[in-house]
């Protein structure tokens, strides 16, 4: 009986989860933070999320990063009508933000100290985790202004293209290392959301 009730609840929960996604992107995973899991570097991204040079017309100067959260893409403007595009994972519902910031700090294999508000929501998270392959921040982090948000790597390449984070933008480790090598501290970062009705 309890088993039946359990499965009914699971079904209900699964349906709610399925209905709550309004777009064609993959399902959100509240369990997207998995400290300790070592990233699978051989994970093959969908072509849509692979790093590529694309046509991109913008008034932003070359060297600017433009994050388009609705698309799950991060653009590094190259000038001459093109940009390098990376697939990203973005903030889940309620954890979206937009604005103009600068990269204030860069770090390789960063340590992770989840901010208190994140601990409050997800008490099972570690209070501190040293940098390394099992760290959810992945291989590199670029700190955005004075916010708690970063552009960072991940140990969960399967979450690229989804809205799962607490507001950070995650790339696969190879991509974040590539981006890291191309942008200095001080780089202008524009974060765009889709318009509200």
């Amino acid at each position: 009986m309890t088993k039946l009730r359990h499965s009914v609840w699971m079904l209900l929960a699964a349906t709610t989860l399925a209905l709550s996604t309004s777009q064609g992107f993959a399902q959100p995973r509240p369990d997207a933070d998995e400290p300790g899991l070592v990233a699978d570097d051989s994970y093959a991204l969908d072509p849509e999320w692979q790093k590529q040079v694309v046509y991109y017309r913008t008034n932003e100067a070359p060297g600017t990063i433009i994050v388009v959260t609705a698309e799950r893409h991060l653009y590094l403007v190259q000038g001459n009508g093109r940009a390098i595009r990376y697939g990203i994972g973005v903030g889940r519902e309620g954890f979206t933000w937009q604005g103009l910031v600068n990269i204030t700090r860069k770090a390789e294999w960063p340590d992770w100290t989840p901010p208190p508000e994140m601990i409050a929501r997800q008490p099972y998270l570690p209070r501190f985790m040293a940098g390394g392959p099992g760290n959810p921040l992945g291989a590199r982090a670029m700190y955005l202004g004075t916010t708690v948000y970063r552009i960072h790597g991940t140990n969960r390449p399967d979450t690229i293209g989804t809205a799962v984070s607490s507001g950070c933008f995650r790339l696969v480790n190879n991509d974040v290392a590539d981006l890291y090598s191309r942008v200095p501290v001080g780089t202008r970062v524009v974060i765009r959301q889709k318009p509200e009705l």
């Binding site: 694309v54 318009p195 509200e196 009705l197």
Partner: protein, 345 residues
């Protein structure tokens, strides 16, 4: 005698007037909207089979970007996208068939050019899809700009504007190339696929479709560079302004809807919005639809039944389709592309 001559003159004048009116009627069709409404369906001239743009399945159901645009026009008028009838037309006869009123609208990957408007007495209301000539090459060559193609052997179809554009582009950029010409497109593709040339050039939308048929599609990349202008647009008869306005604003409504974040999924929410731009588009403020000869909710009908520009793009040629053509030039002006619609106000 006098009255006889007078009668003759009047008779002659009447004959001339009737003749002139008949010629005008023959030449300028100004009744397409009325006839379409009376008939109860929009007649759309489409391509016989072009993946992503217009293609029938084995049951005769049409799909594609051009097909959906025609459905959007039908949705605006009838609130029913199935009130679009598709008539496949050859490239050589398409403009004549439109002139002969066999169709109400051509939505058939047709490039807008000046001579096509002036010579055929036609009108291209707005650009639905910015196409242009591009290059495909093996990924292994590790080239990401057309400017790095100096010294390449290029496969191209002979006697086409594609070959002329290619020559212009290489000359303008002081680059050398060896032209590998073939009379038919499938020969060009075969030559490229068997390694006879370093790169192949054709219209970008075509390259994405051709890539699907390569022996190893994943091994080839299409450069983001576009070296020629091929603006694909719907076509209507000249001097039929009421109809032209409907076709034009159908496209602009779809583009504006994307810019405002209105989709087929959130249209009900949009109908409750208090944001003025949203209200004008979905018809909860103003009388923009009535001014077109349609209803207040004309644009809401389009969005609900067919979707906004981005939805139609993604479904047929973009990320959710087999072709997976990046938005590129067809991205909104506010997001890096050049798709731009005048405001509804």
């Amino acid at each position: 005698m006098r009255t006889f001559r007078g009668g003759l003159l009047i008779g002659l004048a009447v004959a001339v007037l009737v003749g002139a009116a008949a010629i005008t009627y023959e030449r300028y069709d100004t009744k397409t909207l009325k006839r379409t409404i009376r008939r109860g369906e929009v007649l759309c001239g489409v391509n016989k089979g072009l993946p992503g743009f217009s293609i029938p399945d084995d049951k005769g159901n049409w799909s594609g970007f051009d097909v959906d645009f025609c459905r959007a026009v039908a949705a605006a008028i009838f609130d029913d996208p199935t009130k679009a009838k598709f008539i496949p037309l050859d490239a050589s006869e398409r403009f004549k068939e439109l002139q002969a009123r066999k169709v109400d609208i051509l939505s058939r990957n047709s490039t807008w050019s000046m001579s096509r408007e002036t010579n055929y007495d036609l009108y291209f209301p707005a650009v639905a899809y910015y196409d242009g000539e591009g290059f495909m090459l093996p990924k292994s060559r590790n080239i990401d700009s057309a400017l790095d193609l100096n010294g390449s052997k290029v496969c191209v179809q002979a006697d086409t504007t594609t070959a002329l554009n290619l020559a212009d582009y290489f000359r303008a950029n002081n680059m050398k190339y060896t032209e590998m010409k073939f009379p038919k497109l499938d020969e060009v593709v075969k030559a490229y696929d068997t390694g006879q040339c370093d790169t192949i050039t054709a219209d970008a939308s075509q390259l994405y479709a051709l890539r699907l048929n390569m022996s190893k599609p994943g091994d080839h990349t299409i450069l983001p560079d576009i070296i020629s202008k091929e603006p694909l647009a719907p076509v209507v008869r000249l001097r039929d302004d009421d109809w032209m306005m409907i076709v034009k604003w159908t496209l602009y409504a779809m583009i504006n809807a994307e810019e405002l974040g209105i989709t087929s999924k959130n249209i009900d929410e949009a109908l409750k919005s208090k944001k003025p731009e949203v209200m004008r588009l979905v018809g909860t403020e103003g009388a923009y639809g009535e001014d077109l000869g349609l209803t207040k909710d004309w644009a809401a009908r389009i969005i609900r039944r067919v979707g906004n520009y981005g939805e139609v793009y993604d479904r047929n040629v973009g990320a959710e389709s087999k072709l997976k053509i990046p938005r590129g030039l067809n991205q909104l002006w506010s997001a890096g592309g050049i798709q731009y619609a005048p405001p509804i106000r």
